[in-house]
């Protein structure tokens, strides 16, 4: 009996979205990173192509983090009060991009003015030549004041700006469009809501093909399978030709994994769980390794060992 042909014919394709711009392209980046472009299910190379392996970014905060556990402090404690130094560390560790969070502009976290945010972004852009993802603080009024200035300051660098939501998308979409940046569209855990946010953004004239979608993230043991199924459903819809789901996906794995008690509990509190130095990175890597198979194109990570492990997993899967 001949072995039946199980290959799927897909009609759709994930939009390729390139971040960063080299001097030839009007920016100052040493290289660019392209997300998406898949024509089949992740890593099923007989079905379709996965021209760009999932990109791995490392988190950089614009102020010293509070309450980060020991393993992260060991990795970044000496640089984390200086975003530029932290970004350089991330580049040394092998990140594809820098994921910069403007936490200090939050009204409860220092309420720093737009000018301070612009300064930080410029410092990071000068310190490393990697493409940049920049997130606001999730307070619409403040983000509306800060993000257009940041977008203007980073003009030409083709950054990825986050995050536009159903309630707050106009200013960010307009800023991204005016200064040539890509945009993150955030809709928690629901394909239809995700489509709706994409429609709202596209109704302002911003191209659907420049969007990266963020369906939120959950870590291993905290609902990861839900996000996984959302990712997979979205991906299948996109490959079947749904233009509104054809955007590459960004997931915030590091942040979620390091909220779990498995990653945070110190050795005295959890004597049977193995050393914290391994537990947190392992939790982060396991979450990431699972989610890349559902269809994630950009993973934001934190710990160097997680980055290293996920990179190995991606390489192995891509070669299979």
């Amino acid at each position: 009996m001949p072995f039946p042909d199980f290959r799927q014919k897909w009609t759709g394709r994930i939009n390729p979205v390139t971040l960063g711009a080299t001097p030839a392209e009007g920016g100052t980046r040493g290289r660019t990173v392209t997300l998406g472009g898949e024509t089949g299910i992740p890593f099923l190379n007989f079905d379709g192509e996965t021209p760009h392996s999932p990109a791995l970014g490392l988190d950089v905060l614009d102020q010293a983090p509070v309450g980060w556990p020991g393993p992260l402090q060991e990795a970044y404690g000496d640089v984390w009060s200086d975003p530029a130094a932290w970004a350089r560390r991330a580049r040394q560790l092998g990140a594809d991009l820098i994921n910069l969070r403007l936490l200090s502009i939050h009204p409860d976290e220092g309420d720093r003015p737009p000018e301070a945010a612009v300064e930080t972004v410029q410092a990071v852009l000068e310190a490393v030549d990697l493409p940049l993802v920049v997130w606001g603080c999730d307070v619409p009024e403040k983000d509306q004041a800060v993000m257009p200035k940041v977008a203007e300051a980073a003009q030409g660098e083709n950054c990825l700006l986050g995050a536009a939501t159903e309630g707050d998308y106009r200013t960010l979409a307009a800023a991204a469009q005016a200064y040539g940046h890509k945009l993150i569209a955030l809709a928690p855990c629901d394909i239809n809501r995700s489509k709706q946010v994409n429609i709202l953004i596209s109704d302002t004239g911003y191209p659907l093909t420049d969007l990266v979608i963020y369906p939120t993230t959950a870590s291993l043991g905290y609902g990861m399978e839900w996000i996984y199924s959302i990712l997979e459903r979205g991906r299948l819809a996109a490959l079947s030709g749904d233009r509104l789901m054809a955007q590459p996906v960004i997931l915030d794995v590091g942040y979620e994994a390091w909220r779990s008690k498995e990653a945070r509990s110190d050795d005295e509190a959890a004597p049977d769980w193995g050393p914290i130095a391994l537990r947190g990175p392992a939790w982060e890597a396991a979450t990431a390794a699972a989610l890349i198979q559902g269809g994630a194109d950009l993973l934001v990570l934190r710990h160097p060992r997680a980055l290293e492990t996920v990179r190995r997993a991606v390489t192995a899967l891509a070669a299979a």
Binding site: A145, T171, A174, Q196, I199, L200, L244
Partner: protein, 669 residues
């Protein structure tokens, strides 16, 4: 203050303006209870829980105390506004019921009865004109008994009736006791009794399923005086028509707000109220009193005696019919949603408390389940969808959103628990479709310039359901709200307001100056969000029902729209917001109050009453909550007009070329 008989307790006398009604209440009772005691309607959607903010009153004189509430603005508190359910009088009071809380309890009978009659005329063409009503009068001329034929009076009567009305018959003892004296003229003297034969009687035969019951006998020929009462007990409105059973004509019509509103605006609120001690009795009495009020008025206007009304046919949702019959309602609320009674047999109307002929019958239209009631059975009857080969969709756009799909081969139904978003009650400037209600809105850009029309061309007071839908549709088409329903301050221009207390935005449709009203008439962000959820529930319910049978909306040849909107609903606006599927307009048919129309048809024709039972047995109920795709469809439908614009090509066309490019504006930090 007045002293009670014991002289210990002091009652507070509360006067309500502008009607000057009064009530005396014990200390500790709320102002809402005082209003109920005085028979003054004050909107209380939540049944007195303090969570709806609708029972707004103005204290003009006297002292009250109570909880603070977020439902009143500082300006309103300074004007003396209180929430009636949250304050307790401390002295005699003079209280004004402001227009937005006021509800003339009696619906403008002239206009509404005309409106309801219009539907009846349209239905008349479809239904056989020959009446065969559920109760009928038969005039008989009986031969006197003789020595050769000494048949008993009762048999003599039954035989004669059976010749005219074939089928099994029954007669109660009470009628049998009266029988000899009705058939004869008794000349009773102390010396001797003389029985003179007459034999001319009119028998009223009421149908009890397959058996005819001789309900009563009258001397002589009264067969031309035969009437029935058709009732639609709605959650919001009770409608009653007196029907001439000989001609089939409606003699008089009347409508009234359901007095149960004071105990809770929706059915769940009322079921909850019924669980309180005495609550169920209060709700039963409220609706029976409403029926009595309507009946009294109808009899006076039609010049008919109570004894001439021999039957009542009642339609309504399952909860309302349970309250009408005084049945346990709590089971409707809780899984597995098994009601007390779904197909009540005909009973004496007097047993339920309805005062027609003492032996007259009450027919309650059969219900499909807890959330698809006798009103839906009636709607199917009235639309005739169950007789047609064409596939039809029936949408009852009321509080509960029942949906039926089918034809002469199959019928499936679901309930989309739409909520009261259309009914004016939970809308910031909402009101029912009475004088002064905005029922049509047009918005022109730039400006935006708004023009409205109101019912009776009176100064605008608020929005009825039709006006709300049109306002939101126009705001959407004018780009003032986005596809998610969010107000865009830039597009709203000078008509943009930030809410007084909740900080949420609103769009001013008619400003206070334009309205000659003390407040702006606004559509708030919450109104829009509620409307989108409600229309999403109805559309997703219909979508699920249609798809569950492997059909698409394009296969639906007729869409019947029933409900309080009557024939004043803008189809284009309803499609623009995605309440109705994007089909050619000629496929939509407004059948108005189909619950009442169906009840009348069943009253006038025994076969149609039978049909109601067959329909009930044929309808398959689909529980949307157990359909895993319903939630997906609901979220998809919670967008304007829908996430999938391809399903709404006519709306896409109206929006085309109207998209506004993003303009970068710096917000102030």
């Amino acid at each position: 203050m007045e002293k009670t008989g014991i002289g210990v307790k002091t009652l507070h006398r509360i006067q309500f303006l502008p009607e000057r009604r009064q009530a005396s209440i014990e200390p500790g009772k709320t102002l809402l209870e005082a209003a109920q005691a005085a028979g003054v309607y004050v909107g209380a959607i939540c049944g007195g829980e303090g969570t709806c903010g609708k029972c707004r009153l103005i204290v003009c004189e006297g002292e009250v105390s109570g909880e603070s509430t977020e439902f009143l603005t500082r300006a309103e508190i300074r004007r003396g506004y209180v929430l009636a359910c949250q304050v307790v009088p401390h002295s005699d009071l003079v209280v004004e019921v402001p227009p937005e809380s006021r509800l003339s309890s009696y619906i403008g009978v002239g206009r509404d009865s005309d409106r309801f009659r219009a539907f009846e005329r349209r239905d008349a063409a479809r239904v056989s004109r020959k009446t065969d009503p559920v109760t009928q009068k038969v005039f008989l001329e009986l031969e006197p008994p003789t020595l050769d034929d000494p048949t008993a009076d009762q048999e003599r009567l039954l035989d004669a009736v059976a010749k005219r009305q074939p089928g099994p018959l029954q007669m109660g003892l009470k009628v049998a006791r009266e029988l000899p004296r009705l058939l004869r003229r008794l000349d009773a003297k102390p010396s001797a009794w003389h029985w003179g034969w007459d034999g001319r009687v009119t028998a009223t035969v009421g149908l009890r399923r397959e058996v005819g019951e001789i309900l009563c006998l009258e001397r002589g020929d009264t067969s031309q005086r035969s009437f029935g009462l058709a009732l639609d007990v709605g959650t919001t409105t009770v409608v009653a028509h007196v029907v001439d059973l000989i001609t089939g004509a409606t003699r008089e019509a009347a409508a009234k707000y359901n007095s149960q509103i004071g105990f809770g605006e929706d059915i769940i609120g009322r079921i909850n109220y019924a669980r309180r001690p005495g609550g169920a009795d209060a709700l039963h009495k409220a609706v029976i009193d409403d029926v009595e009020t309507l009946l009294e008025d109808l009899l006076r206007r039609a010049q008919i005696g109570r004894g001439d009304v021999q039957c009542v046919v009642a339609s309504g949702n399952t909860t309302m019919l349970h309250f009408l019959l005084g049945l346990e309602t709590d089971l409707i609320r809780i899984a597995p949603f098994a009601p007390a009674m779904a197909a009540p047999p005909p009973i004496r109307a007097a047993e339920a408390g309805i005062r027609i002929h003492p032996r007259g019958l009450l027919y309650v239209l059969p219900m499909v389940g807890s959330y698809v009631g006798g009103d839906t059975t009636a709607g199917i009857l009235a639309s005739g969808m169950h007789r047609s080969e064409e596939i039809s969709l029936l949408l009852d756009i009321g509080t509960n959103g029942e949906i039926v799909l089918g034809n002469h081969d199959f019928l499936v139904a679901c309930s989309a628990s739409a909520g009261p978003a259309f009914e004016g009650a939970s809308v910031a400037c909402g009101m029912r479709a009475t004088t002064g209600a905005i029922d049509s809105v047009r918005i022109f850009r730039p400006g935006p310039i708004v023009s409205v029309t109101t019912i009776d061309e009176a100064p605008p007071v608020g929005f009825c359901g039709t006006g709300l839908i049109e306002a939101v549709a126009e705001m959407f088409l004018a780009g003032i709200i986005d596809r998610n329903g969010r107000l865009d301050p830039a597009a709203a221009g000078g008509r943009y307001r930030l809410g007084d207390e909740d900080g949420r935005p609103a769009f001013v449709v008619v400003s206070a100056e334009e309205a000659g009203h003390w407040r702006d008439l606004v559509i708030t962000q919450s109104d829009i969000d509620n409307l989108i959820r409600t229309k999403g529930a109805i559309y997703a319910g219909a979508d699920s029902l249609v798809r569950s049978l492997g059909l698409s909306f394009a296969d639906i040849e007729r869409v019947y729209i029933a409900g309080a909107f009557g024939n004043r609903l803008d189809v284009a606006g309803c499609i623009a917001i995605g309440l109705l599927p994007d089909l050619p307009h000629e496929r939509f048919h407004f059948i108005g109050n189909s619950a009442l129309a169906g009840a009348k048809q069943a009253m006038l024709n025994r076969r149609i009453l039978d049909e109601a039972y067959h329909i009930r047995d044929r309808v398959t109920y689909q529980e949307l909550m157990t359909d895993p795709q319903y939630m997906d469809r609901f979220i998809s439908a919670c967008f304007l007009p829908h996430t999938d614009l391809a399903d709404f090509p006519s709306v896409a066309e109206r929006l085309h070329g109207d998209s506004r490019p993003a303009v970068l504006q710096y917000a102030d930090a």
